[in-house]
Symmetry: C2
Subunit: 110 residues, 2 copies
């Protein structure tokens, strides 16, 4: 089977409980990853989601976000990308992601 | 001057930055304190805001919430109470507290 469409490379877990999601979002590096993903409105290659950290640190942060159910990993033409699970999050925790991203965007503009 | 109305016993700091507020809310004990305060819709005596922890642990958690700008401490007739800073929070981080408390209430009902 040829992969012409993006495929998630692992089973998608449910969105975690509220404290786990908040713990995932409270880290400034992860918050910035989520902000960029939300503003991009689609899958984004990993390296575009952080600036000053190294790749292994970024991998750790992606894992925390993924295990909380905030993002999912896709493989597109052999390239790993991340995507926000907006719909799943808004179903599990209505309004939370929007309010967090709005506040994060305002903080960047200040 | 006689104290016939509740008075805050220290200067009220500004609501902290988003990561600090999320870090304050992500702890299950503090999340439950905030949930009870929100549902009470007013000042609440400290002991009514937690169950299984001891007083010094509770004092630590109140301090974290207070320094994040989430709650304020009042003294009413010599008794210490806590109050949620709903209006300040909603001005600084619109929608965040509502979505967090709604999710926390749903989690308790499950």
């Amino acid at each position: 089977m040829t992969q012409t469409t993006p495929t998630t490379d692992s089973a998608t877990p449910p969105v975690a409980a509220l404290p786990v999601v908040l713990a995932a979002l409270q880290d400034p590096v992860r918050l910035e990853m989520v902000r960029r993903l939300s503003n991009a409105d689609g899958a984004v290659r990993c390296a575009a989601l952080y600036d000053v950290i190294n790749k292994s640190t970024a991998t750790h942060h992606f894992k925390v976000l993924r295990e909380a159910g905030v993002i999912e990993r896709l493989v597109v033409d052999g390239q790993t990308q991340q995507r926000l699970r907006n719909a799943d999050l808004d179903r599990a925790l209505p309004g939370l992601l929007d309010s967090v991203v709005d506040a994060a965007n305002r903080a960047v503009q200040d």
